[in-house]
């Protein structure tokens, strides 16, 4: 359908949930009240590595209002261990404590206050063990094994080929090679090498994790702040040895996620406690506890690029090490993807990539918006600018020369590039005023990156139900975390069916009601769930038209639905009239179903990339040399969205993503000292605030209708995080001559680099 004939897709219609959210009517998991609700609190390990000697729970159990105090052995579960890649994480620590903050004992009481008070009476005796609190320590030759044995979870097809390195703390090793490295290095006119570091981050969505669990007869219902209701259902079914159909996971609106609510986290514990006390149990984490539950991987990248004098890339070597913390979570996939994406969106004949996912005694690391791309892009794009400096080339020209073109392959066998990367980069450069004169003390930088978007081997099914009054229910398991997916799915449905947008309602994910969905992550929902919804809407439409045909004395193929009605010559029937007419009562419905089934390819990830999510960024900064403070004056972000289902929500997502990239670029990072998190809460962990909004923050949406999703859509939402740090880093270099290789670029780090450069203790930046 040509874009100019779209009536609701492509329009900035108001969000379905906007009114509820601005009036306080929106309900989240922590707003749920159930009769008899009990409250759980968790005793967490103060040390990063210890052998548990004994847990003393009697005093706590005798405290007022306490219903149960549980250590691992007290949980009524069939399986204690869970995890999306490896079943390596115990619901409560079992024999060994592996990170500071790990849950060891849980208290359930009739009120939160009673649970909190009883927590102070729990005593755990343990014997501290040496801890590996960095990937380097965990990789050392004499490092002890954090997990001497690990069991594959078998949940996800793309994780069936996990490759740990036996006898080490490496739980996943991704390696890829092509071309002739020795020759490429010989042929090169310039070889540049660097080490880049990206810190661990806390997601700090404003809604902390919260789970309410209730055991009913033979089944279990869990309301959870999760992006993955179906994988959580599967995990709970395994933990309790229940059939999937007996486990229900419901997700109302969630208050931000950014990957921190992916896969299973606190749901098994809440459910186990509910089973133990035979009452519904709420487990609500504080923000500090959240920070002790899941993080973004700290990553170091050793990167080496060989290039000819005219800037043609010949080869790239990337050695990527990810600190996945005490439990793998989805780290193995993040490591694989980080490795796969490390070379950047360029034509590079020769590659050697090595990515290692390393266990440490830190808080587990998992999914985080961008999924490895921000970390490897910090390295790869910074190095592109080092190359540009050394060769005396314009950083934009250097990139344009090497950017993959539409139709070219990134890796043999994977989906070819489906967008115009050069167009995006040129628009970004124009928008920042790339060639305009720069005031003194100012600098500009730009960067580009991409990820294989849409997830690997994922599937979604949706149902579109047209009710007898013409209103429509969409049953889709996509979680609304703020990204606007419910609104997008409603728009796709309305457009495809031909009914007014206002008549479409999108249900909350409920594994007992909404069909299977792999999960809300990987920028996949608009595209993949969108396709499933579109197919379901088409199915429903075909059924309605088939019913209408005899009533209007026409061939179904000649009829269309427009604005909820079907017209033939001078006769019009509404969809409601067709359905009621068919059933002979104001009842009945027409239900359509649609599915997306994953593709296959011979690419190194083993699954066809659904679409390429590419992003570009350009920054202009001013640097206060005396304090080292970088002031961001302008940031331009470009996102290739294919077809914006809702342009305002696409732009809003990209702006938010850019801000989420500004944080770690300039000031945001976890501070970890020997396995202790020094800044769990917002007083000492700096997230971007209003005052960090630069005078110019703009998003450019690239729309060429060249995506596989409905109406040519691609996914959106992550690419804004990719390019911020290297764009600012190179702007810093242009303004001052110094280049930083470790994030965040705090004022102190900038000041030190400037001071060292003045004193000559650093070699000139043109290394």
């Amino acid at each position: 359908m040509a874009a100019d004939r779209l009536t609701v897709v492509g329009r900035a219609v108001p969000r379905l949930d906007a009114r509820d959210k601005v009036t306080g009517a929106a309900r989240y998991v922590s707003d749920l009240a159930l009769p008899g609700l009990a409250h759980a609190r968790v005793w967490r390990s103060p040390v990063p590595h210890a052998r548990i000697i004994e847990t003393l729970t009697e005093r706590a159990a005798a405290a007022p209002g306490v219903l149960a105090v549980c250590a691992a052995a007290d949980l009524p579960v069939k399986r204690l261990y869970f995890g999306p890649a490896y079943r390596d994480q115990p619901i409560l620590a079992h024999e060994v404590i592996r990170y500071a903050g790990e849950p060891v004992v849980a208290v359930v009481a009739d009120t939160e206050r009673h649970a909190q008070a009883a927590l102070a009476l729990v005593d755990v005796r343990y014997e501290e063990l040496p801890a590996a609190t960095s990937a380097e320590q965990a990789l050392a030759a004499n490092a002890s094994l954090i997990h001497p044995e690990i069991e594959r979870a078998g949940h996800f097809r793309d994780l069936s080929g996990l490759r740990p390195i036996p006898g080490t703390n490496v739980c996943q090793h991704y390696a890829y090679q092509r071309g002739d490295l020795a020759h490429a290095l010989e042929d090169a006119d310039l070889v540049v090498e660097g080490v880049y570091r990206y810190p661990a981050l806390s997601h700090h969505a404003l809604e902390p994790h919260c789970v309410v669990a209730r055991v009913d007869g033979d089944g279990l219902t869990v309301w959870a702040t999760t992006q993955h209701p179906f994988p959580v259902r599967r995990e709970l079914a395994d933990v309790f040895d229940l059939p999937l159909a007996a486990v229900q996971v419901v997700v109302p609106l969630i208050g931000g996620a950014f990957g921190g609510k992916c896969y299973t986290k606190t749901e098994p514990l809440a459910a186990a406690l509910a089973a133990r006390v035979r009452r519904p149990v709420r487990l609500a984490l504080s923000m500090e506890e959240n920070a002790r539950t899941i993080t973004r991987h700290a990553v170091s990248v050793v990167i080496k690029t060989a290039v000819t004098r005219d800037g043609t890339l010949l080869a790239r070597e990337c050695d990527v090490v990810l600190d996945t913390g005490a439990y793998a979570d989805i780290g193995p996939r993040v490591a694989t993807k980080a490795g796969y994406r490390a070379p950047g969106p360029y034509r590079i004949p020769t590659l050697r990539i090595d990515a290692k996912c390393v266990y440490t005694n830190n808080v587990p690391a998992g999914a985080y918006r961008g999924y490895g791309v921000p970390q490897v892009t910090w390295a790869g794009e910074s190095q592109m600018d080092v190359i540009a400096e050394r060769l005396g080339l314009d950083p934009l020209a250097l990139r344009l020369k090497n950017l993959l073109k539409r139709g070219e392959e990134y890796v043999a066998g994977d989906t070819p590039i489906d967008g115009d990367l050069a167009e995006g980069l040129e628009q970004t450069a124009r928008a920042v005023g790339w060639t305009a004169p720069l005031a003194r003390g100012r600098g500009r930088g730009l960067a580009c990156a991409m990820k294989d978007g849409g997830g690997t081997h994922s599937t979604s099914t949706a149902i579109v139900r047209i009710n007898a009054d013409g209103s429509v229910d969409v049953l889709a398991g996509s979680v609304e975390a703020g990204q606007g997916i419910r609104t997008a799915l409603a728009q796709i449905t309305a457009e495809t069916l031909g009914v007014p947008f206002a008549s479409v309602v999108v249900a909350a994910p409920d594994t007992s009601v909404t069909p299977y969905d792999w999960g809300t992550s990987a920028s996949r929902s608009t595209t993949i769930m969108g396709l499933a919804v579109q197919e379901a809407a088409r199915d429903a439409r075909e059924q309605v038209l088939a019913l209408a045909a005899p009533l209007l004395d026409a061939e179904a193929s000649m009829l269309t639905i427009r604005d909820g009605a079907i017209t033939r010559d001078d006769r019009t029937m509404t969809v409601a009239e067709v359905i009621s007419g068919h059933y002979g009562l104001v009842g009945g419905e027409v239900a359509g179903v649609g599915s997306f089934v994953p593709g296959k390819s011979s690419g190194s990830l083993g699954g066809a990339t659904v679409f390429w999510e590419s992003g570009m960024g350009a920054a202009e900064v001013e640097v206060d040399r005396e304090t080292g403070a970088i002031e961001l004056l302008k940031y331009i972000s470009a996102a290739d969205v294919g077809q914006a289902i809702n342009p305002r929500e696409c732009a809003a997502q990209d702006e938010g993503a850019a801000m989420q990239g500004i944080g770690p670029a300039l000031f945001e990072a976890r501070v970890n000292d020997a396995g202790q998190l020094l800044n769990p809460g917002l007083i000492d962990y700096r997230v971007p605030a209003f005052t960090d909004l630069p005078p110019t923050l703009e998003t450019v949406l690239i729309e060429n209708a060249d995506g596989p999703g409905p109406f040519g859509a691609k996914g959106v939402g992550e690419s804004g995080t990719f390019c911020v740090a290297p764009a600012i880093g190179s702007a810093l270099t242009q303004a001052t001559g110094v280049r930083l290789t470790e994030l965040p670029m705090t004022p102190e780090r900038v000041w030190r680099a400037l001071r060292d450069a003045e004193r000559g203790s650093l070699p000139p930046t043109l290394k």
Binding site: V22, T23, G24, A26, A205, L206, P208, V687, F690
Partner: protein, 164 residues
């Protein structure tokens, strides 16, 4: 432990309550009065998610004690709209796409109402300064700023000093 008897007006409704001194305002509003639009997030006064108005002044409900509201009036997000009619700030947030997950939104809107009440036509810098303590992790703040400036324009154009 002595509890405190108090009368408080919340969103225009009078309530007679008896509260222990250690009860926080957010516990009172959510757990006693069922005003679930007041959200709890960082719990340390930094994020502004729990912002409510106490005699028109913005406060952190997580750290203000409930008894401090005695004899005073409290306004939460639930007290802004008039039936189906959204408050101009609410309407501006919707139009400008100034919300995504919505968790910061009630507090953000209440802080905005307080700001505009005090400073009917704030500049962008004044908005950023006043709103510095209201964190949003989703939007990147740009659309919130636009919504606030737009709402202030509309409200000062509509009528002066109607005290909404």
């Amino acid at each position: 432990m002595k509890e405190i008897a108090m009368t408080v007006i919340v969103n225009g409704d009078k309530h007679d309550l008896t509260v222990p001194p250690h009860e926080t305002l957010i516990e009172c509003l959510r757990d006693r009065l069922g005003l679930l639009g007041v959200k709890k997030s960082c719990d340390v006064q930094v994020c502004g998610t729990c912002t409510v108005l106490l005699d028109d002044r913005p406060v952190s409900a997580c750290t203000v004690l409930a008894f401090e509201a005695r004899g005073r009036s409290v306004r939460t997000i639930e007290g802004l709209a008039r039936g189906d009619d959204l408050h101009p700030v609410q309407a501006a947030f919707v139009e400008h796409g100034a919300l995504q997950c919505g968790f910061c939104t009630p507090g953000m809107i209440m802080a905005t109402v307080a700001l505009i009440n005090e400073n009917p036509r704030p500049t962008a810098d004044e908005v950023k300064h006043y709103m510095r303590g209201n964190i949003c992790r989703c939007t990147g703040y740009k659309r919130i700023l636009e919504a606030i400036l737009d709402a202030s324009r509309r409200m000062s154009g509509a009528s002066a000093g109607n005290g909404r």
